[in-house]
Symmetry: C2
DNA sequence: CACCAATGTGTGAACGATAACCTACTGCTC
DNA sequence: GAGCAGTAGGTTATCGTTCACACATTGGTG
């Protein structure tokens, strides 16, 4: 910066004023400084700046688990807002592994020592709270992307419960009476919320819950295995925790000669871009994950600037009816 | 740091020695310093450190276009290596938009002003080189993830040409003679390399190239549109630029009553986890994108440390034969 | 014509850390 | 017992920037 000043015939301080826009700089001086900057190819050093002002305009994003459609879109949305606000996004993705917790803790420590202004976390399981408490210790604000509102922290998330309700109401309206739930990971809030909606929706019309089919993972392989392993004779519809599980389930049904939607209706959640092209095209519940990322970013920034705690931000769900659902065949209606 | 020193009865410098491991610190002093660190909850400030040592252990990842399976896995792989080497990953994802180029330039500028040690770029189109030249100007090393080796920069990438060859040889061995290529974006190196392999493979056995089917995007919707729009009567196999295009194409074929693989064989590229569960399960060419991200990260780090320019790193492709390919039906063999 | 506000610029200290340099003590060797 | 290597720790300057403050000039006002 002092090189620029020297070339422009002023002090470094005046260059700083020019760049930050604070204080008076003569118009002619501005021109000379601008010329000097370009001639020298000078680029301000943000970390030196941050050292002084104790703010980095940097947000950390910690994601865990599988980098699937939703996570990737959320990341893209956050990045878009970071670009737009001239902020920097630091990401750490820790996949499921043996010693998951210490890795998460280390990633958080690293972000903090990089002086991030705030952190957004996509929480896969509830115990995240403990690690956050131990490492972040209120040093910077945290926003958690979670399946349900959290009391202790700001949170944002897709409305998994509503998604479950929309899916179930659709199936119930079609006339289904024996509906199964194909779950995601047992420790996932999203999966649990969808299951809770599943149970509530059935209870509301006094129908029994079918045994939960445990997928265990958010992927197609889990849906396929579950679809093969399970006795589906007295079930006329399956509500799948997400689209990938649904895809696997569709493949299993095809292999077993079960026709969708004639024999069994299938509903997913997410509306990944591929869902429209499944066989048959999948009825599902859409979330706008990119918007979730954008909102989460704005939320953490606002929190950084105002310090005000905010509510749980809920991303609306939208039912997308395609061809994987239909009224139950007669055999099933009788089976009830 | 001086607070820690004061509490431990030493100077800040000794605390620094303790933390960096350089120089002698008495064992008893170590214990006192460690205790002071824990009592105060002290955490070293990496950016202050960086200011002095002129190194941030930070790598920037710039990705462009759609955040699909490959891009997400590459990111996850890079993040994994960043964790393992105690480095920080700064990401910027710029989606296709009206003024794409200035956005890319701004993202790069931001990374440079954050003093990244190096940058990894997933280049969607060739003109990236110009922007890189204008903004990065050799200030830090750059590794480009590209569909083909680049002369001017270090590069890494999936071997798209080999992928194309594997797919085509598979189809040719099955006896197909009229094979079409369903392309991705026209400005994508990956798509062009796959097309080049397609043309070379046909030329090698003196077969004519079928008119190229232009998908235009790397997504299922493009594959679907193309699959509906195109006259496929004299084609017995389609080589799709990636799995998503293939999924869309499969859906279009189903809608048109074209049976896969009986009437038409379909091959994709990527082997996304869902491909195994398409209807029918997709024959495709697998890439290990997570490994690509890992290798690209190691490459940029090595380049930062040694300054040595490296070769183009090529990620091998592996043919995965499933049920979307079969020998051509008799009608087609005669049509030749 | 002295005074004041507005404008324009420079000086020194500080942000949190590290490196170079310096001091001091111990124990061993010749 | 002088010299030296090894150990332990303090002092000072510095990285690139910003802030608080001081200073200088201008033009208008009472």
């Amino acid at each position: 910066m002092s090189d620029v000043g020297r070339l422009a015939g002023v002090s470094a301080q005046t260059v700083s004023r020019f760049l930050t826009g604070k204080g008076y700089v003569h118009d002619e001086t501005r021109v000379r400084i601008q010329a000097a900057i370009e001639e020298l190819g000078y680029r301000p050093n943000r970390i030196a700046r941050s050292l002084h002002i104790a703010r980095t305009d940097t947000i950390g994003l910690l994601s865990a688990g599988v980098m699937n459609y939703g996570a990737a879109q959320t990341l893209a949305g956050m990045s878009a807002r970071a670009q737009a606000t001239d902020s920097t996004l630091i990401t750490a993705h820790v996949s499921d592994s043996a010693d998951h917790d210490p890795e998460v803790a280390r990633a958080l420590e690293r972000m903090l020592s990089m002086q991030v202004d705030g952190i957004v976390v996509t929480a896969r399981y509830g115990d995240f709270g403990r690690i956050l408490g131990e490492t972040v210790r209120e040093e910077v604000p945290v926003v958690i992307i979670a399946g349900r509102p959290l009391q202790l922290q700001d949170s944002a998330g897709a409305d998994s419960y509503e998604a479950g309700m929309l899916a179930m109401q659709h199936l119930l309206q079609l006339g289904h009476r024996r509906i199964a739930y194909l779950s995601g990971p047992a420790d996932s809030d999203e999966s649990r919320e969808r299951q809770r909606a599943y149970e509530d929706a059935l209870a509301a019309v006094s129908l029994p819950v079918a045994p939960i089919i445990v997928g265990g993972e958010w992927n197609s392989a889990a849906g396929y295995e579950a679809g093969l392993a399970h006795d589906l004779r007295d079930v006329s519809a399956v509500f799948c925790g997400n689209d990938e599980l649904a895809l696997g389930f569709l493949a299993a049904a095809r292999r077993r000669g079960i026709s969708v939607p004639h024999d069994i209706s299938v509903v997913g959640v997410d509306d990944m871009p591929e869902a429209r092209f499944f066989a048959p095209p999948l009825t599902t519940v859409r979330f706008d994950f990119a918007a979730l990322g954008e909102r989460a970013f704005d939320m953490i920034r606002r929190r950084v600037e105002t310090g005000l705690r905010q509510e749980h931000l809920v991303l609306p769900a939208e039912l997308i009816v395609r061809e994987s659902t239909a009224p139950p065949a007669r055999a099933h209606r009788r089976a009830r």
